[in-house]
Structure formats: C-alpha cells, structure tokens
Symmetry: C2
Subunit: 336 residues, 2 copies
C-alpha cells in the first residue's frame, strides 16, 4: 500500500487522477492532495472521504511513494526535485522533462521497455502524442511507419477545466443571442474552431505541434519518423480526435490492411469502431470516459500506395493524461 | 434585366441566393421563388417585397432567363430539362449533373474558361470542392500540385437548415443537462463530431469524399491529381474549414513559399489570414458571411520537401453554394 501525492489535485487532470486511482483500485494507504496556496480550504473526495487540499511545497513529499504532478511545467520543475529527494517516484504530466534524453516518456502499451528500474522520474506524454501512439503502435508491428500527416480535432479539456467552462459559458451566451466573450482561450469558441492556442515557434509550427513531433519519435523509439502535424481546437469538451494519413514502408499497403485491422482489433488500449453500414466511427462523445482509444475508418489511401487513412478519438483526460499516468504507476508497482 | 427562378427558395441555400442576388445587385426584373408544394403559402422577401412561393413544376419556367436549382439532385433531374426547354439557363447546385462530361463544373476564379457560350446548364460544385479549389488555384499557378491530403471540419449548414437547427436544439438540451437527440444527422452533434454522414461507398470512402476527389479534378482540369480526403462534421453552424497537405512538383517547396504567399495574398476570392504573432488564422466564425475563402498557416511540411500545409475556412452557404452560383450567372450575363 502506497502513499500517493497529487500536485494539482483540484485541476481537470487532478480530478481524473483521483477517479482513475479509485476505480482501478490502486493500492493507496494515504492520499495527499496538493495544490497552489489559493486552493487551500478546498477538499477532494477520494474513496468516499473528504480530504483537505494542502499547499504544495518542498516539504510536501515526506513518506510519499508516488507523486503525480499535474500543475504545469513551472510547478514540476520547481517541486519535482524535492519529491525525488524525499524518495518519491515522480510521474509528471507536464512538458517539463519530456525532452530530457535521460528521462523516459512512457505509454505502457507502446514502450514499457523504455522504463527501467533506475528511473525515478517518468514523463507522461502530451495528450495528442499518447493517444496517437496507442493507435500507431499496432500498425508499426505489421509494417514500419515512415511518415504521418496528422490533423487534430482537440477538445477544450486540453486547456484545463476553466477552458471547458469557458466553452459552456460562451455557448450559452451565443444561444441567448449574445456575443461570445473568450475568457480563457484567445478566440471565440462556441460553434467555432481555431488553430491550437500554443505559442507559435520559429519553424512556423506551434508548441503543441512541435511537442507531438518530438514525443511521437521518442515514444515510438523512431527518431527518423517524419511527421507533419496541424493542431486545431474544436468545440468539444473532453476527447481529442485525429485524422491520420500513415505512410508505411511498402508499395502495397492494401495487401497489409487485413493484418493491420486484426492487429488494431486485438491491441491493448484500442477499440476498433469501424462500422461502414451504420456509418459508425470514432466520435469524441463515445471516447469520453472510455479508457480505450477508438480507432476506425481504416482504409487505403488512393493517392499513395504506401499510405492508409485512420480516424481516432481518445479521452484527453484519461489516456491523454490521468489514465496513462496511473498505468505508468501500475507498471512500476508491478515490478517492485 | 432578367427573370430569375429559384427552385428551393425556402431552403438554407435558397435564402442565401436571395440575399446574394440582392446584395450584388444582380439585374432582376422578376423573381420567381419556387419550392415543393408543402411550402406554398410561404413567401420570401426580396428587395423589400414579399413574394409568394409557388409550387415548382415543369410549367414554372416560362419566360425565365436564369433558373437556380437548390432542392436536391432528384428535383434537379426532374425539372432542369423543363427549365432548359423553356429557354432558361440552369445553374444547378445539386450533384445531379456534376459528373456529366458535357456539363461544366465552374468556380469562376478557377476555371471560367471551361464555361462556353454553348453551355445552357452549368453545375455548381460541392461546397468543399469549391472552397478548396479557390485556395489551391493560386498555388497551382506557381507550382504544379501533385497530391492533396485533406481533412475537413464541416459545418451543419451543408446538411441544410434543419441540421443547423438540430445542432442548436441539441446544444440547448445538453446545456440543460438532457441527452441530445439527433433529429436530422445520424449522431449526437452537440459538443461532438463525426465522420461525414454521406453514405459509404465501395472504396471505403463516403459519398462526400468521393465527390470532392472527382470535382477537384474536374474544376482544376487535372484528371491526374491525386487526393486523399477525410470528411468530418464538426459542431459549427455555417462555414467549412479544411486542413490541407499539398504536395507539389518540386523538391524544395520552401523556395516557392514567398511566391505562393504573394499569389494567395493577391488572388481573387482569397483573403490571407496568417498572423503568427496574434495566433490569428482562418476560423469559421470569421469566414461566416464572408465572400472570400480565408487562407492561412502557410508553411513548409518538415516531413516532405515537396509539401506545404495550409488551413482554410470558407462560408459553406456562400462560396460553397449561393455566392458561387450567382458568380456563374454574372459570368454568363457579362458575356451576353
């Protein structure tokens, strides 16, 4: 039985971490919910009990076995060293450590092997990368992927609980005939969509897109993988969808499709949703609350004999964040 | 001055046709709004006058110079011959005649030359194809396009006025804590998205996707153009957005980007919206009601030296339907 701390316990991912830890019966003897000083006075509910939130600080981690960080990169950089120092294993949901070559970036279904006993700090991937990697790994087992052209349909939850609320408030306003006033994200969001709000970087891609490229290469252990990524926010609450054009090392992908379909149908963490008769494919409303990444619209690309198309949807707060973090903890616990 | 009939005058596109004809001062002496028998008793407003809707039938076109059809393919097949017989020029917004090699499929900014004096029946393209062609034509002038990988973010309006209302009603229900009940489209739509509702066809692509492939080749006069298209409905009311990966006949697209940017900035029917500092790119809320197709996020694709990425948004009811139809009529009128 473990003592588990959650830094960012009052956020959208923090709330999911509590639910996932409870529903998966992670063996917890003491839960330590931590947040910024302004959240002190609040409490969280875990296993039927109200537990008061404490202010996160360097002294918060005494006796902690697992510390989940989900309060942004600055907070992680500031407090993860203290948690490690106190002997905790740190599972960090922020981008703070993902690019560090000494720190593993783990999606358990994909690269559990990259997590060794020496790793006390593990990075949890960006939500788009985690969801996409789950869908791509079974394909990679059949045929080496050479290039991905990806367009995303990302939900509000990736920008936090306040962005989800912003979408709801704006939508209410529009339905009441008022102009939507963006409070969290930079553009009107009700019945609208926009290029991902991450800051633009020098290469013409935004921070989200560049993260996805870097992290997919690291998770898939394919530094040579070529990716073109366009990240877009759509007015959906908590699941990310993606349209993937996947080029493989073949000149006849059609011949591989039956094996790829079978690999997806049986892969851990994947649910094949591919019913042409009912026109039923992955949708964010069905991905929301689901552990599996929904995968469908598997078909050969008529414009390139090496490529296939796929449409996927995964819960941003679960496989894109909290669930994957808890699975990392389970993996570590199973080895000790 | 012309006598102009509109078949489907009470629909979403019909209403836009009336607005566009009026705002562009198309020289009309008599307007004949036509619809199905169940719309008789309604009237439309045009140039400040209420005009009663008449039941569309083979006898409706006497003295009509231009007949706009926007009541579905079945209605077009049924009544277009009578309109032609009566001497009208027919501009058909349905898919009925688009694949007929003797009938031109026109986007005036792109292929006005394909419209000859002998053509009395002109097809107006699918909304996705029309919007995409406007954005691609200026690029094609700089460098031959070899392949397009497209993912769409399509609005409710493409499925008609009732689908727009369905989205609003479902959204109200969800905000009130009720389950959304799809009335027009096959899946929950509020805060959700789904693969386009067109019927799936034998090649694994739906009817919308196959239309886009065929029509882009015809409009661009490029039967060899390779396309991979994924059509998705998003909870947006009336503008379609698209993420385009465009491969060209070059091994150094980066060298062409300045010329392509200039071509897009000056192209008829295009508005370049590409402000990295403000993170301001094409959005459906700004495309709604606009004549121009918004084009932005122009950047080289790091995964392929021949490719660039683009994000575009265009009003489905305007450039995707009514505006383009009226522009075709203007083109014909300008030549007579």
């Amino acid at each position: 039985m473990y003592t588990v701390a959650i830094v960012g316990a009052t956020g959208a991912v923090g709330a999911e971490l509590l639910r996932v830890l409870e529903s998966r019966s992670f063996p917890i003897k003491t839960l330590v919910p931590l947040a910024s000083a302004r959240s002190v006075g609040q409490s969280v509910t875990f296993a039927g009990r109200e537990i008061p939130v404490q202010a996160a600080g360097p002294e918060s981690f005494k006796g902690v076995d697992f510390a989940f960080f989900s309060a942004g990169a600055t907070r992680s950089r500031e407090l993860a060293p203290a948690a490690l120092e106190a002997g905790a294993i740190v599972i960090d949901n922020s981008s703070a450590f993902r690019t560090d070559p000494t720190i593993p970036l783990i999606v358990p279904e994909v690269n559990a092997d990259a997590l060794g006993p020496e790793h006390r700090l593990v990075a949890n991937p960006n939500c788009v990368a985690a969801i996409m990697a789950v869908a791509c790994a079974p394909i990679e087992k059949i045929r080496r992927i050479t290039r991905l052209v990806v367009s995303t349909y990302q939900s509000a939850s990736g920008a936090g609980a306040r962005a989800m609320e912003d979408l709801l408030v704006q939508t209410r306003d529009v339905l009441a005939g008022k102009d939507p006033i963006p409070a969290v994200l930079p553009h009107p969001y009700a019945f609208n969509l926009f290029s991902h709000n991450a800051a633009m970087e020098e290469n013409g891609y935004n921070g989200e897109e560049n993260k996805v490229v870097f992290e997919m290469r690291k998770i898939m252990e394919r530094p040579d993988l070529r990716l073109s990524v366009t990240c877009v926010r759509v007015p959906v609450l908590r699941a990310h969808s993606m349209s993937l054009n996947i080029e493989c090392d073949t000149d006849d992908i059609a011949a591989d499709l039956p094996a790829i379909r079978e690999a997806l149908a049986t892969a851990e963490g994947v649910r094949l949703v591919d019913d042409a008769v009912a026109n039923h494919y992955p949708m964010p409303n069905e991905a929301s609350g689901a552990d599996d990444v929904l995968v469908g619209r598997l078909r050969a690309d008529p414009s390139n004999p090496a490529a296939l198309n796929l449409f996927i949807a995964g819960d941003q707060l679960l496989k894109g964040a909290a669930l994957n973090a808890v699975q990392i903890a389970e993996l570590i616990a199973s080895r000790t």
